[in-house]
Symmetry: D2
């Protein structure tokens, strides 16, 4: 029969690891054969994730992370570990000849100094910064298909860049007057023990956080600057939603000249015509986080405010799926020669 790709996952206990386990359960061409965790090694996946009981993946035994062992059985390895840790493991795995999809921030920033300034650690593998491909398939499809090392995009950058790309490429908006008001579900804050993300601190509450310098800012600016062909600075601001999954970014831009909604909508529709995982909603419809829940879709809605000359772009993704593990799987599919959407659910959980 057909060849089954063997995959490994380093760091299975966080929400991105959990999400990858969910997605791999339904993949018919790729199989998860190694999952690692320093704290849970020795247990089966079903022991830490009872939702995997009676499923084949539930019997997989968690191991200690070991590049040589991973390389001995895997074609591709997903890294779902914190930044800094990721760069070391990635390097070791590449040396062993395994392809790597890194979900951390370690290879997203092209410039070593910028990375070190925003992440406050030394980058010890700068030579890989050049090789790594930024894994946003709508922008870098060809490079991804030939890559060994994918820097899987951040959740906020994915929603922001996909929302801005058509307008910036068409040069219809001012590049120095962009505000991104982004809101994320609580899974984006991770699964660590923390008073600030307890149910009673998040539920029935709403707040901003991380202002004015969220670490995803340089990643957004790097990518949109390339599209616009000019160095851009954006105002990027983040908020915590009392929902499990989902990012909705409301992006405020100034049109350089008057445009009708029809014109802008046509431009966006054309831009994404051959990129089916971005959905430009019909005029008059606006994205909601639930419409993309559990999927890799990025939904875009467009509003023109003639009173202020603004184009408002609303962009929604599932932060765990398109914003992390789902996009990682898209990338893994591509670097392994599979269709981009293999194994990925297309219909969201509603409600």
């Amino acid at each position: 029969m057909s060849h089954i790709i063997k995959a490994g996952l380093v760091g299975v206990t966080g929400y991105t690891g959990m999400e990858l386990a969910r997605l791999m359960t339904h993949h018919s061409s790729m199989e998860l054969v190694r999952v690692t965790s320093r704290s849970e090694a020795g247990k089966t996946l079903a022991e830490i994730y009872p939702f995997l009981n009676r499923l084949p993946l539930g019997d997989l035994v968690i191991t200690q992370p070991d590049p040589a062992d991973l390389a001995s059985v895997c074609d591709v390895v997903f890294l779902a570990v914190p930044h800094k840790t990721a760069m070391e493991i990635a390097s070791a795995l590449l040396e062993e000849g395994v392809k790597v999809v890194d979900l951390s921030a370690d290879f997203r920033i092209n410039d070593k100094a910028t990375y070190e300034q925003w992440y406050d650690v030394e980058h010890t593998k700068p030579e890989l910064l050049t090789e790594a491909v930024y894994g946003l398939p709508e922008l870098y499809l060809d490079q991804i298909m030939g890559a060994r090392l994918i820097a899987n995009p951040g959740c906020y950058p994915t929603s922001s860049i996909l929302g801005l790309a058509p307008a910036l490429e068409a040069k219809i908006i001012e590049t120095d007057n962009i505000v991104i008001d982004a809101k994320s579900g609580a899974s984006g804050a991770g699964r660590g023990k923390n008073v600030g993300t307890l149910f009673c601190e998040v539920a029935d509450n709403f707040r901003a956080y991380g202002l004015p310098a969220h670490r995803h800012t340089p990643e957004i600016e790097q990518e949109i600057s390339k599209i616009a062909g000019t160095d851009m600075t954006v105002s990027f601001n983040t908020h915590l939603l009392p929902i499990n999954r989902g990012i909705l970014s409301t992006i405020y831009t100034k049109l350089t000249s008057e445009k009708s909604l029809e014109e802008v909508h046509a431009l966006y529709t054309e831009f994404y015509a051959d990129k089916p995982l971005v959905r430009v909603l019909p005029m008059g419809q606006l994205p909601e986080t639930r419409f993309v829940r559990g999927t890799v879709f990025c939904d875009l809605g467009l509003v023109i405010d003639p009173r202020t000359g603004r184009l408002v772009i609303i962009s929604a993704i599932d932060n765990l799926c398109r914003g992390a593990s789902g996009q990682a799987l898209m990338n893994a599919n591509l670097i392994c020669g599979l269709d981009i959407d293999e194994g990925l659910p297309m219909a969201p959980m509603m409600p």
Copy 2:
């Protein structure tokens, strides 16, 4: 290639219709070719469900419900309409030679008088009560596979019956001292306009409702009485949870004689050994609604309280999936000769 089963759906605008649309998006052997709604006929599915944009199902045009039209293109039709309405359409469809999976209560109660007493309407198709098969595959697999008309079980009964069946069959619990304390997510209350199910009336709140005579009571009693071989009366009580999906039933029973947890767990495991869609969790683990979210699994947890001689059975399902549309699809698969789990997701959305 292989034959694709053609399916119809009468009543697409409620949560069960929405859920069936989600499930059918991923079914490779069955295709939804007709969806009907009196109020939304003429629109495409994507117009009322933006989450179907850019998906094949999104272009399907909603039609008026018409048995002859449905019969002309469908092998099987799902009825997601209120009780009383369902019995008339079911009858018409069967006459046209189409198989029917009815999600309403109309064919669940074998006894006409009992149905009429609890549902307060006349049953106009009593001859079909005998023919209809109660669509709980763990109990009636063979009958379902040969049926024309399936009475798809209620959500609460599904969780209650599957939780009690092994203990009743093994005659280890008293049959006259059972309390079922059931809690359901808000999608169980339907998608109608209603002050009582507004967000602000349900969120950050918890309450009982429908006591002491919820309409699912006779359905539960009918089925467990058959298993026990004696007429049973249970205390069945329902509560509204501030969650979208999920039913968790805590079932209190009295052991007829002392039993260890190991013994009862072995008995349950054996009962469901060849029924992989019910998961008896390992001893010490208890079900949670999220472990079954979006799936057809029924998860069971067992607790013995030696102080009171009680066996407490905890049963969790997704009320929209196993409790409605997912089980309907299991039944449709079976009556159409497919595997029971075709098209059904196995990994829940976590978180």
Copy 3:
């Protein structure tokens, strides 16, 4: 002993009516003696609001709205009815010699034509537009104390205007480049039957709505233009949060010249020094909706982004309390000669 003010409430069945009933339960100088509702007349308050059982207010019988009857027993009447309805009742009550606090939009817009353009109905009492005082005590304290008719501010405008006032008065921000990204809890959508505000449509979801022309826009522009001394146009955009109560507005402005956070914070602190119901949080702290839950506080947080030259103002209120009934009670206190905060809770419900 001291004189007890007698109050009436027209429209008790919505969330603003419910909130006023809550607040009046603890007021020692004002008593609710009449509550009206066309649909619930004849019942006691406790019958429709079981939370008032065993409380004095619970025995109050709901009556049909009748200006003459209200005037015969009330010193002041709150109107919690839809716009258009309110203007007629207000006029009748004023003629009967009763003071009126109108929670609708009918007297907020000074200009008849602007009102009619945004609300799409004729204003039949234009003579009262001049008399009505906009009930934002931080701006109009003296006028409120002498008024007969208070136009109680909208929820979004309250948060937006209080957030912008100090910066505009001090002329430190550009007046033509302001974006208000506002998010509201679901009680702001009212208690009417509506599929869009069902629990399952709002919970675990986030979306924008009403773009680009929410009806609170002219109210905001009118008031901030007065403060700035120039006609202003703002980009005002609204979103629906899956929480019961609370508005958080993130307000993006451009500084006209470089300012330190210390300078701006001092300016805000000074502006609100003698207005204790607005809290400028210490530098580094940001507002959260829960910090004001159930209170009339408006909490402000300030952020300066030196990369973009922006001052970001975050403003949080409870939409039902400061944004509606609590502010109405502040106004009623003032026009009746009481202290502004009589009867008002100061500590929020946490968590």
Copy 4:
């Protein structure tokens, strides 16, 4: 003017400490003059609780817990610390001549051996077990008023005992066939760092926990046995609700002889006639957690199921208010000679 009672609070950083700070903000006869915390000493209350900004209590400086210091300024001290820690501090404070309201479990269980068996620590102050009064005012009003040491009841026991007391006293139910199915909001799990109580682990989820031996079991059994005049064993089972506050207990009992709902309702109403903080709802109404949110009310609803001969009692409280800090304040009021309800809100936050 009148004497102001001086109060202290040991352990201010948890949810019960936070709740007491909320309540004391509005108390006119008792003032919080000392709050202690080992980890936060030196900060003001407003620094850790921004909701206290611009309020008098916000300026209170947190100190290290020191019995002598507390005794030097306090008439009464609340202990909001874990069990075992509490018994030591209580003893020291009593020796210094201060009255103590202990919110922990340390003095609730009369029998030293039972305490040690369920809490798995040695009780080092057994002499105080005899002196401590169980602080449920509906049962022990007179003893509380003369006490030095109050054992403030647990949250679950409060709801269970108040629900069962009238029926047990009237001997209308079987004493050996009681099931309590209790559901609690997440604040009951405390404010410690914990993966299990993260937002994403609790939201949109429901689960049982602690079965079959929750530590509140012996407390419930002790108190209801006294009322019934016989040793009772109950089946007590707990669940975690995705809400902030609230406990709803559904209590299943067997009537010893046929009774009408009218008879039982009259019996309950009579029992609580002179106890206004328990509300027996009118027949046909059932409690909801929101009806008591933020208050000390215990709401009771009664259902008779003639098919099974069961009386179902539904009991709702706010676990943080009536179930902890609010009841502690009721007790402090009583032992200090104040009215039981001074400083306590009577109207819940709705919605």
